[in-house]
């Protein structure tokens, strides 16, 4: 059974949660949400999932679908308690990311008079210094992977090292894109290419990245198992919304 590129990405996002145990998974966007739910149904049964509004889910429905059983009540205001406590793994988006994992979601151009005002800092400053953070980039390109982000919203490894308070609980885990999986397990904590998705070459990733990326030992991103494909296609995303976000 051949998996689509979107399905490869969902499984790569599910893998982000490997070994997390009982933490609150906070995936932003469809592909990471499907990934977190797939992880809960397979390798990480203790993961806490939210409906994205106020409920912790006892069951694992397709995103947006209601279920009859609720595990807990965790509205917006209370999420900050979990953030500060640190039992959370967020998967955020990024308008820009640099080699140290600094993320920008605030603006393009100068902050006081931007050429493009983006949605804003949101939870990034607190998330990145309090608990594990990963990123999902649906279109891997030199527009996103830049030499230097215009404004640091989420803290990367160089900035975490400069400020002891920021580094104490800082853990930028991985970046999953439509082309590849990257991490920061290098001596200087710069981005490293872990694997390319089936059909993607290392050169393609290099050309789409605005800084040199360590490509010493690159594998191929894991293909979904038959059971993962079944769960994804029949339970979590029967309408194939995933393929619209990441065309094959």
């Amino acid at each position: 059974m051949d998996a689509t590129r979107a399905e490869i990405c969902v499984v790569a996002c599910a893998n982000l949660f490997r070994g997390d145990g009982e933490v609150l998974a906070s995936p932003m966007g469809l592909i990471p949400t499907l990934g977190a739910r797939l992880a809960r149904l397979t390798s990480e049964p203790d993961l806490l999932l939210s409906d994205g509004e106020a409920y912790l889910l006892a069951e694992v429905p397709a995103p947006g679908e209601q279920t009859s059983t609720v595990e807990g009540w965790l509205p917006y205001r209370k999420v900050f308690d979990v953030v500060a406590h640190g039992r959370r793994h967020v998967v955020m988006g990024a308008n820009q990311l640099d080699r140290y994992g600094n993320q920008n979601i605030s603006c393009i151009g100068p902050h006081d008079r931007p050429t493009r005002q983006l949605l804003g800092f949101r939870g990034a400053p607190g998330n990145t210094v309090n608990h594990k953070t990963s990123y999902w980039v649906p279109r891997h390109s030199t527009r996103v992977f830049v030499d230097a982000v215009h404004v640091v919203s989420g803290v990367g490894y160089d900035n975490a090292a400069k400020h002891p308070s920021a580094g104490r609980f800082h853990a930028v885990h991985r970046v999953v894109t439509n082309l590849a999986v990257l991490d920061f397990d290098t001596p200087d904590r710069t981005m490293r290419l872990v694997s390319t998705h089936p059909g993607v070459t290392v050169d393609e990733v290099r050309e789409s990245t605005g800084f040199p990326v360590d490509a010493g030992e690159v594998g191929e991103t894991r293909r979904p198992t038959a059971e993962e494909l079944r769960l994804l296609r029949t339970v979590l995303d029967p309408k194939s919304l995933r393929d619209r976000e990441v065309p094959s």
């Binding site: 005002q117 400053p125 400069k162």
Partner: protein, 277 residues
Amino acid sequence: MARILSLADAVGEVVHDGDTVALEGFTHLIPFAAGHEIIRQGRRDLTLVRMTPDLIYDQLIGAGCARKLVFSWGGNPGVGSLHRFRDAVQNGWPVPLEIEEHSHAGMANRYVAGASGLPFAVLRGYTGTDLPAHNPNIKQITCPFTGETLTAVPALNPDTTIVHAQQADPAGNVQVWGITGVHKEAVLAAKRSLVTVEEIVDELRPRPGAMVLPGWAVTVVAEAPRGAHPSYAQGYYDRDNDYYQAWDAIGRDRDAFRDWLTETVFNNTATAGGGTR
């Protein structure tokens, strides 16, 4: 005891040109009717405060009511950008908009400090980001116990906070249920407050998980049925998702926005919900 006024009188009493005004409500119970009344009364130079500015602030900004926005996220939830907000920040239309940007937790903690009568709140977040360089209201502080360097943000004490709720009684006690965001903190932090409600009932019936804002903590209450539309009021009506979708095209174009203002806000004083959809 809070006084019960008409929506127009209530907004006229608590919102003045140049005020710092917070309209709160996260996803649920967003005070749209009160926001439209502010536009109708032609308020100017407001400093608008809100954790998650969405359509109502896009409308207030596009109508030229604001000179500054204090926020941590500004967008059309599930749809995309706020085009009036972007036009104001990027092009100064219809008037320039200064921004003071925070993180979500920074905003929430500023309200908590304001509600507690304390001068500042302390956080770990912000350290290592560029925000302290762009926002003088974010400062380093040294913990007197551990010596750790953390971040302080000043208390937020709006001149006026406006929230929407389901019910009030004739004494102005307010009952809110469902997702309440920072309703309580924002009202308690403010010098004056207005709560718009779906209905005024003879007696508030206790509900599981509900929050009561006692009449002595609220300045004025106004009845505004469907006053949170196009957001929702649990127990009364659902979110009007089509409105949020349709807003993208209206907000994108200055003329379409001006037409919308005339038709929906200025020529529609009768319905508090401000919508024919």
